[in-house]
Symmetry: C2
DNA sequence: CGACATCTTGAGCTGGCTCAAGCGTAGTGG
DNA sequence: CCACTACGCTTGAGCCAGCTCAAGATGTCG
């Protein structure tokens, strides 16, 4: 579950998220490297089932996922929980702001790389490409979030589940963590329920239904996609077409200078 | 429904959104003004019930709401619609990206101010405060969106409705458009349904229920809040406490230099 | 005045919920 | 090495929040 930083990834130029990931990856290889500006990326480990930070925390550091799975969540007064988003290797953990607007918990042991927010802001100012890349990442997150919103608002249980599985299929593929149409998925049905706004029982039945339709098998910490076209169709293919590409014309040409920075 | 740019707003210093609003307001007063960098803010009008832009559009301009109500929405293949967000005066319309990820439609006649994305990017680079403010705006939008996500995932119809009304109460108040605990609300029950993931019929019953509880009266293009504490309690006060403040320590001290720019 | 949009209410239906029970597996401590 | 516990998965049964269908009222605009 480590970000592969092999030359094989060079073909994926033009994708900011991926370029940035390579960048992060390279930075994280050595314990600290320069980005034109002095940014020290530290490595931090958080064990499984712990919070990385809590709602309301003031955070000195900006963070990226290096290994493992985490999730953003919020709690309601009476104990109800809603999971906003999953975080996989390469994802920006944030927060975008010095004050965390949500909790962040781990599903597995997690390795983060982090840098003081102030350093980051400076580098951001002095390196337009970095700023653009970050903007792109934010835009992508916004897009994912609104896509999820559409799911909860207007899709039924099966469609929601299919949509989530396709989204993660795509995200895992982008970071080279898709193997033979399957990917690691350390997510219990309870967590899934809190993500999709369903009950655990109904999540179970929905997964069974997808399995019986030969679309995907979810369990034992993995998702095995049997029929990605079918899954996308259930998810609402028209919609996902716009949603998943990270891209964007205006950013495709960005090449992060620090991606070429030598590892220490 | 015009952004008031009266001195009375000076007391609200420290709130980026509001500072920025005043800034936009001032800029829009004259047809063009300088922001240290040459940014020409043009005014554009879009009539009621029209799209400002469509999903997939490549947009030359970055836009802000000056007057009127609009909304971001997405469509599913079979015609289902989901409304992601409402846009009120002072809001950044975006898109954050050159390619629109959603439709943007108007609920009333709308006046926008807009500037070419390229100009904006330059100004953004040369004016750290502007960049920070934009970042804050994005973070706020992200927060609103995840709050809405929690609503759709884990709140029932009444809670969702109350939450939305409180959110808008707060946003309208921030831009000085709250009058005697009521605000303009040019939103049909159908639009409301597509926002909250409910049916029109159930929206109607939910509004009746809130009315009968003496919490809020929604209709005739207005929301009249009768009992804001009660409404917040139904919405889940604990949660909203974190959600609504735009603020954030790290940004509170930002004072946009161009906010002081003289009108033409 | 006709056409259309919006709101309202009743009546019956259903997708997803709750409650409850059973099962397999992974620790954990004696 | 074997209880014992805890957690996650699975399935059945009954229920209900919110849905769909239907019809009428009201307003509005050309």
């Amino acid at each position: 579950m480590t970000i592969p930083a092999t030359p094989g990834h060079a073909e994926m130029a033009g994708n900011v998220n991926r370029d940035f990931l390579r960048h992060i990856s390279k930075l994280a290889t050595g314990s600290e490297t320069e980005i034109g500006m002095p940014i020290r990326l530290e490595t931090r480990r958080v064990p499984k089932n712990h919070d990385v930070f809590s709602e309301g925390d003031t955070l000195r550091d900006v963070m990226f996922m290096r290994e493992g799975w985490a999730y953003r969540y919020r709690l309601l007064g009476d104990g109800r929980r809603h999971i906003v988003n999953f975080l996989i290797p390469g994802d920006f953990v944030g927060p975008y702001f010095a004050t965390a607007a949500h909790f962040c918990g781990t599903l597995t042991d997690v390795t983060l790389c982090q840098a003081p927010r102030s350093d980051f802001t400076n580098a951001n100012r002095d390196c337009p490409a970095l700023a653009t890349a970050l903007e792109a990442i934010m835009a992508t997150e916004y897009r994912l979030l609104s896509e999820r919103l559409v799911s909860l608002g207007r899709r039924n249980a099966k469609e929601r589940m299919a949509h989530l599985l396709v989204e993660l299929y795509d995200r895992m593929r982008r970071v080279g963590l898709l193997y033979d149409n399957s990917y690691e998925f350390p997510v219990t049905q309870e967590v899934l329920a809190d993500t999709l706004g369903l009950s655990v029982v109904h999540v179970n039945r929905t997964l069974r239904s997808l399995r019986e339709d030969g679309l995907a098998i979810v369990g034992f910490g993995r998702v095995c996609v049997r029929n990605i076209e079918g899954l996308m169709e259930v998810a609402g293919a028209d919609d996902t077409a716009h949603a998943f590409p990270v891209h964007a014309a205006g950013v495709a040409s960005v090449s992060l200078p620090m991606a070429a920075a030598p590892a220490a």
